[in-house]
């Protein structure tokens, strides 16, 4: 500890603390303009100048580290003059457009000008401010308003790791410029800008800051589930921001959080329930709509009813959905989109570790010595994890071991960037585990304590053939050795895996291989690090926890074992069998399923075999679609039930690591549409004859009682509070090693599907903001593959597999290796999942269109 005196008060602080931080501990405020807690100090504005006894110049408090015994003065006539003159300089050629400036009313330059009483110009100079930059998508830059504090540059570089923004030019002409190709359009530059320099084009001229009402809620577009403030005016969401320091995401947002809420105001919003009639879909009232659904389900009978959902709903909604089917319709034919990815991983984690999701909260990643990322693009799937990796491996000294089937943004920061051949992920992970064991890097204490069969593990990995792994993966021995070397040296490790693994052809084996790697390298041995399965859909973890799968009951309890408890609580007999999503598809084709309820999911885009699903949806006798936006899918429905967007309703959601947060309605649902909870509750009340619809609170109590999952969770709607699911801790000797093997043999040219960095599911494709930067899907093609089929950048190609064919434009990119085409599955105009028979990839042939 270091002792120092500030303005006559003595304080003791940790070595390395800055004068500014020490002053704050004493409650002394030193004015700042460029300081931003979450990034390294810049020292640009010089306004925090202070005097240190014995030092013959001022020092800036923000970036001066304390020294034992120093005497600091933060307020003096000299300092006031310096600060005031700096403000006067900053105002030279600053435009007097505050009345129309977006930052007016929440501008730090305004505040500081006022605070120092600067009321007339003291300096003058020729105006050499560059012109306003209008050419960037989504963000306008007004250099004349800029104080060059570099907060935007820092946040872009250190927090997000995009490295898009930079200071360009010299002297007074200098301005913030951008490498557009690096921009992630996360809007963090807009959020941290103290003036109106960085302007959100989607918010510009929408409202004055003081007119806005702020509601704390949660962004549910991905499993990061960032905490946000929803700013509304006249029942419209005008913008979304997040607060530094107070939120799990420390105020940072991605394009989804910042720019993607426009779908809520889309003209494609469904405003009332619809019913298919001869002359097309016509509105009908809720009572009729709900009755009709209940009636048709009853007519079809439990075995012929099926329900599917996606990642858009809240926990209570999922709970009621499965209850409606099981207790109401007498059907256990319920499943979710997680079937095709996330759930495949969770099933392995459950059996291997008793783990129902990520082992730790994502903030445990930020402090590790090494991060292993396999088959994931955290930037697209869960940006919060990307920011944590930036924290660990760029702000900290952590090593990044990255292995994917294509290059992603994080490649530039990886110590061992690896691109492995599709289908070889098990071989890759096994090789790493073997090398860690070989280099005596195994976490033996941990293995000895928890693993019942350490010897089996060791002998299995001793027999792993490194040469075959190198052959199968295409990754060099040197890179694998280096990667293992980093893991051996690391005290704490985070293992992150995502869609490429979970939706891939080897998902179960690969997850098992990753579990073994995590056990061996110490990812699970303490508070720091962990095992993190990612999947780009927002609340699939909530769906799994609520038991939306034929084999699971709420609390991820096995259907066969825990059924009795639910049956007696609900006062019904539970159906015996249940079909999963694949079986439901077969069931429709075989005429066994005649009633299908799609709640917040679009199989035409989200499921493999989308073409087959289209035919099935056309065939099914009665199709209920519950959604918020009109699409090809809703037009196929016999009944459309209009749900609500995430900022229009209440309820809890479960993010990565089991963090349960609470949604608060910032606006009311559009038109006649209703929160999805009310729809399910209404249906259940109808099935159960005359009973009143359940309240949210009652359902939460029921969930808590029956699931055994949320005991530690306080469902609360007050303030920014969240709770966690119970932490993971295995019993000594309870874990068993299970071998993981196999390589998927794939054709020479495969189409790999995944998530777009700029879109979340298909919902955000209805948002003007995200549509500006990613209006449509494209195939990423390696230049060599393009050459061999004779096409150039931007050309149209036909991609075909198993009798299906789709067309799309190509973008040449070295990010995909030869033999791999990549396309995001978010876009209705590039329905790549029509080609995919299973998982996330398929052998294809391509030709010039």
């Amino acid at each position: 500890m270091v002792s120092l005196t500030i303005d006559g008060k003595t304080v003791s602080v940790a070595r390395g603390t800055t004068i500014l931080e020490a002053a704050r501990q004493l409650g002394i405020t030193i004015p700042t303009l460029c300081w931003l807690q979450k990034v390294s100090p810049t020292g640009a504005c010089r306004i925090c100048a202070v005097e240190v006894e014995g030092v013959d110049r001022t020092m800036t408090a923000c970036n001066t580290v304390v020294k034992d015994g120093i005497v600091v003065t933060t307020q003096s006539e000299r300092l006031f003059t310096i600060r005031k003159q700096i403000v006067e300089l900053l105002l030279v050629n600053h435009p007097l457009d505050c009345p129309v400036c977006d930052a007016g009313g929440e501008c730090e330059l305004q505040d500081i000008t006022y605070a120092f009483g600067v009321n007339r110009p003291s300096f003058a100079a020729e105006n050499v401010n560059p012109d306003t930059i209008d050419g960037w998508p989504l963000i306008q830059q007004v250099p004349s308003r800029c104080v060059l504090c570099e907060k935007c540059v820092k946040v872009c570089h250190e927090t997000v790791g995009a490295q898009a923004l930079l200071v360009n030019d010299r002297g007074d002409r200098a301005f913030i410029d951008k490498r557009l190709e690096n921009c992630e359009y996360c809007g963090n530059c807009v959020q941290v800008c103290p003036t109106g320099t960085m302007i959100s084009k989607t918010f510009k001229f929408k409202a004055r800051p003081w007119e806005l009402q702020k509601t704390a809620s949660i962004c549910t577009l991905c499993p990061s589930q960032c905490e946000v403030d929803v700013h509304t005016k006249q029942n419209q969401v005008c913008r979304v921001t997040s607060e530094d320091g107070e939120t799990v995401n420390n105020g940072s947002l991605c394009i989804g959080g910042f720019f993607a809420h426009g779908f809520l105001n889309s003209e494609k919003r469904l405003t009332s329930p619809l019913k298919k009639r001869v002359d097309g879909q016509q509105p009908l009232d809720w009572d009729e709509a709900l009755s009709s659904v209940v009636e048709k389900a009853a007519t079809a009978g439990g075995e012929a009813c099926a329900g599917l959902t996606g990642g858009r709903l809240g926990n209570e909604e999922y709970y009621l959905f499965q209850k409606l089917f099981r207790a109401g319709f007498g059907s256990n034919n319920i499943d979710s989109e997680a079937r095709f990815g996330y759930l495949r991983g969770i099933e392995v984690l459950q059996s291997a570790l008793g783990l129902g999701g990520a082992s730790h909260l994502p903030d445990r990643i930020g402090q590790v010595d090494a991060v292993v990322v396999v088959g994931a693009d955290p930037t697209s799937e869960a940006p919060l994890v990307d920011w944590q990796i930036q924290q660990a491996c760029r702000v900290g000294d952590g090593k990044l071991i990255l292995a994917n089937q294509r290059k992603v943004k994080l490649n530039q920061y990886a110590n061992t960037p690896m691109v492995y051949r599709p289908g070889s992920e098990v071989a890759l992970v096994n090789a790493l585990t073997k090398l860690v064991l070989e280099q005596d890097g195994a976490d033996d204490d941990f293995l000895g304590r928890y693993l019942g069969n350490v010897d089996e593990l060791k002998s299995f990995y001793a027999a792993v053939d490194l040469g075959q792994a190198i052959e199968a993966t295409g990754v060099s021995a040197k890179t694998l050795q280096d990667a293992a070397g980093y893991l051996v040296k690391a005290e704490s490790v985070a293992v992150v895996f995502g869609g490429e693994v979970l939706r891939g052809p080897m998902s179960a084996e690969a997850t098992r291989a990753l579990v073994n790697l995590a056990l061996v390298c110490g990812a699970l041995h303490g508070d720091i690090g962990g095992l993190f399965p990612l999947d780009e859909k927002g609340n699939l973890a909530g769906a799994i926890d609520a038991g939306v799968a034929p084999g699971l009951l709420p609390g991820q309890q096995a259907y066969g074992q825990a059924g009795g408890q639910f049956a007696s609580s609900w006062g019904v007999d539970l159906p015996q069998q249940g079909k999963d999503a694949n079986q439901i598809l077969h069931g429709i084709e075989a005429g066994e399923i005649r009633f299908l309820y799609l709640a917040g999911v679009n199989p035409l885009l989200a499921f493999p075999q989308a073409a087959r699903w289209r035919k099935a949806l056309e065939k099914v006798e009665f199709l209920v679609v519950q959604d918020i936006l009109a699409s090809e899918l809703t037009s196929m429905a016999d009944i459309v039930l209009t749900g609500a967007g995430n900022f229009e309703k209440s309820g809890s959601v479960t993010g990565l690591g089991g963090r349960v947060g609470y949604l608060k309605p910032a606006v009311s649902p559009v038109g006649e549409s209703r929160p999805d909870f009310e729809i399910f509750a209404g249906l259940l009340a109808k099935v159960q004859r005359d009973s009143a619809p359940a309240s949210l609170a009652a359902v939460q109590t029921e969930m808590k009682d029956l699931s055994g999952l949320y005991e530690d969770v306080c469902f609360t709607a007050s303030g920014r509070r969240f709770c966690y699911r119970k932490g993971w801790k295995p019993v000594d000797g309870s874990l068993r090693f299970a071998p993981a093997e196999g390589v998927a043999q794939l054709p020479e040219l495969v189409l790999l599907t995944g998530a777009s960095m700029f879109q979340f599911g298909s919902t955000t494709t209805f948002s003007p903001g995200t549509a500006t930067v990613a209006p449509t899907g494209q195939f990423l093609v390696n230049p060599a593959d393009a050459l061999s089929c004779g096409v150039n950048d931007g050309a149209l190609i036909k991609v075909s597999a198993a009798g299906e064919e789709i067309q799309g434009a190509i973008k040449l990119s070295d990010d995909v290796p030869r033999g791999v085409l990549f396309a995001p599955a978010n876009f209705a105009d590039l329905p790549v999942r029509q080609l995919i028979p299973e998982g996330n990839l398929v052998g294809v042939s391509i030709a010039k269109a």
Partner: protein
């Protein structure tokens, strides 16, 4: 009479405008009278004041020009007072010059001068100093402009340069403050790009540079210098530790070709910069493939400079389009006249690979165990050939090569490794940390010892060295005290191997006499110089006693020289700086038919001569963060037989950032009026 009309240089005012012969020593001794041997220097404006030598100079116009260049060309804009304050200053001066100024403008500038002392770095803060000096001491000139009496005359031209104490001191003139700032901002690739603008061997100079820059670091005046060298290593290691490809792209291929003799630091450097300009360069290297790098490879052992990292720097240079013909000794496998015939330009960069004789009885007898020399020993050890070394090894010398020899001897399996030096440890020219390293590894030092005779047995096998004890007498020319033998102090150091390592000379026997290339008596190539003399008529010189400003052109048209064979045996960084200049000169010669130094080269030399670092300057700063040193492997095991693993471990990134934060960014702008 004094040549100085007015000077405020060094914050000391000498005003001879009304007659008088006040002198300013620094100006008199270190500033040349002419810019290039021809154009007289009329005035100099810079961080430490203003010097006026030509009474006709328009001081106001000069100050306005200086302020304009500072703001428009150099101000980084990364702090508010600097960005805005220098613009206000520039405009005020421009107004005055245009006859539209007022006395209030002068007051504003004087006020800004105080405010700018709060800047983030010293660029703008030091730039107001000479401007305010002119206002203070030439106020009437300003008032004449303000009242409209004066009009700009425009008789002088100006040449300006941005510099910093470390950057000027670095023989390669790397933009050190810039790359340190980039590391501070965690922009390692950008830092490396900055380094590569002046240094194509960053991995090497990040490890084995004697870092003269650190001796000119202003942070030393606060507490201790910034660890500039290891920060360079950080930037360079970051690239390969993240599997990043170097971003450089050579310009489109040109037709004229260049041959380079020697793939050492000088040869590689000039090849790199010429290749970037699009020239096809062929390097002729005597050693086999895999052993490129010249003295870096054969003279610096792998525990200081791991080979795969050196090779990476060489590979990068090759990938720019440089062809290296290994195993090809010029003078044996191909002659110099043949090269001259075949290529449009030839650069001689053969290095200095021949050990000097020791001048001791028996050294020329061909005794077994008396080795050819230190550099030959290191080379054979590196090539994996038999070195002829026994078990008990004596190395004679006090430079870095001698230290490398004793440390390599241990790694080659010597049971005892002894260093004999005729002065004390303090006078050793070897870097202090190298001596400490040898000490830690168990080398025995014998100081104040002069070998006089090699002792052998009947088979002519060395059995020892007869020595005499020395004592230090009066200082010699180099300032070191001259050692003198102590009578009757003869004694014998038993050994089976003696390695003389007292220095190297270039081997220029490949240059035929009839080519007209002159050789100095120090066996270096003579190159053309510019006659830059100071005010008292003495030729200005560089650190090595060479003429300050050399064009690197030999007396044979189209043949250039660089590196140890031009400067004399020195350091990697000196060779890099020298060879970078050679590349520029060669390019001008190829493109314009004239080999010359441009304004920037001349400014570099003149500013270096004037001196940017002032060890007596009182630097106000809070000394709350100590210098960070890199970790290293300790213990004698690090020098065990066959262990050439790297001893120094570099920085973790967070340590590098912390160390970079200590940099005071001591940029300065100097401007000459001609």
């Amino acid at each position: 009479m004094s040549q100085v009309v007015f000077s405020s240089w060094g914050r000391e005012v000498v005003d001879n405008r009304q007659g008088g012969d006040g002198e300013v020593e620094a100006v008199q001794r270190r500033l040349p009278v002419t810019f290039d041997g021809n154009q007289p220097i009329a005035a100099f404006m810079g961080w430490d004041g203003v010097v006026i030598k030509d009474p006709s100079i328009d001081v106001v116009a000069m100050a306005a020009e200086y302020a304009k260049r500072v703001q428009e060309d150099y101000c980084c804009a990364k702090c508010s007072p600097g960005k805005k304050g220098t613009k206000v200053m520039q405009d005020a001066l421009a107004r005055i010059l245009a006859g539209q100024g007022s006395e209030q403008d002068l007051t504003t500038i004087e006020g800004l001068a105080d405010l700018l002392q709060n800047c983030k770095c010293t660029l703008c803060a030091t730039s107001v100093i000479p401007v305010v000096d002119t206002i203070k001491h030439f106020r009437n000139d300003y008032l004449a402009y303000i009242s409209g009496e004066n009009q700009p005359k425009g008789e002088h031209r100006y040449t300006v340069k941005l510099t910093a104490p470390c950057q000027s001191k670095c023989p390669a003139h790397i933009d050190i403050p810039s790359y340190i700032e980039e590391i501070k901002d965690r922009k390692y690739s950008e830092a490396l790009a900055t380094i590569r603008e002046s240094m194509p061997l960053p991995a090497v100079c990040g490890r084995v540079c004697p870092h003269p820059c650190e001796s000119a670091c202003r942070r030393k005046n606060v507490d201790d210098s910034v660890n500039i060298m290891v920060l360079k290593r950080t930037a360079s290691d970051y690239e390969w530790q993240h599997a990043l490809q170097p971003p450089m792209q050579p310009k489109p291929r040109k037709d004229k070709t260049i041959a380079v003799v020697g793939a050492g630091p000088a040869g590689l450097t000039s090849a790199y910069y010429l290749a970037l300009e699009g020239y096809p360069v062929t390097i002729y290297e005597a050693l086999p493939e895999g052993y490129g790098g010249g003295m870096i490879a054969v003279g610096i052992p792998a525990y200081r400079m791991p080979r795969h990292i050196l090779q990476r720097d060489i590979d990068i240079i090759s990938s720019m389009g440089v062809e290296i013909k290994y195993d090809t000794r010029v003078g044996v496998d191909i002659t110099l006249p043949e090269l001259k015939e075949k290529f449009d330009a030839v650069l001689l960069a053969p290095g200095a690979h021949k050990s000097k004789p020791m001048g001791v009885e028996g050294e020329d007898q061909g005794y077994t165990g008396f080795l050819a020399g230190g550099i030959e020993f290191l080379r054979e050890a590196y090539l994996g050939r038999p070195t002829g070394m026994g078990k008990k090894v004596v190395v004679v010398g006090g430079g870095n090569t001698a230290i490398d020899c004793v440390r390599v001897a241990l790694r080659e399996g010597a049971e005892e490794s002894i260093l004999l030096y005729r002065r004390t440890r303090k006078e050793m020219p070897a870097d202090e940390w190298e001596i400490d390293g040898a000490d830690e590894e168990g080398v025995r030092f014998e100081f104040l010892v002069l070998p006089t005779k090699i002792l052998v047995d009947d088979n002519n096998q060395v059995t020892g060295v007869e020595c005499v004890r020395m004592e230090l007498g009066e200082p010699d020319d180099s300032g070191r005290r001259r050692p003198q033998p102590v009578e009757g102090s003869e004694f014998v150091v038993e050994c089976d191997t003696v390695i003389p390592a007292i220095g190297q000379d270039p081997d220029l026997s490949f240059i035929p006499e009839d080519m007209g290339i002159e050789i100095t008596r120090w066996k270096t190539v003579v190159t053309k110089t510019l006659p830059l003399q100071n005010a008292i008529g003495r030729d200005l010189q560089d650190d090595m006693g060479n003429a300050l400003t050399r064009t690197l052109v030999t007396d044979c048209d189209g043949v250039f020289a660089s590196g140890d064979a031009e400067i004399g045996p020195l350091t990697v960084v000196a060779c890099v700086g020298n060879a970078h200049r050679a590349a520029k000169v060669i390019q001008r010669w190829l493109e314009e038919g004239e080999a010359y130094l441009d304004d920037d080269d001349l400014m570099e030399d003149i500013i270096w001569s004037l001196g940017v670092y002032d060890q007596d300057e009182k630097v106000a700063w809070l000394d709350s963060v100590e210098r960070t040193n890199q970790d290293e492997v300790h213990g004698r095991e690090r020098a065990s037989k066959g262990n050439y693993s790297e001893v120094e471990l570099g920085f973790k990134d967070s340590k590098a950032v912390q160390e970079a934060e200590r940099c005071l960014r001591c940029y300065r702008v100097g401007m000459l009026a001609l």
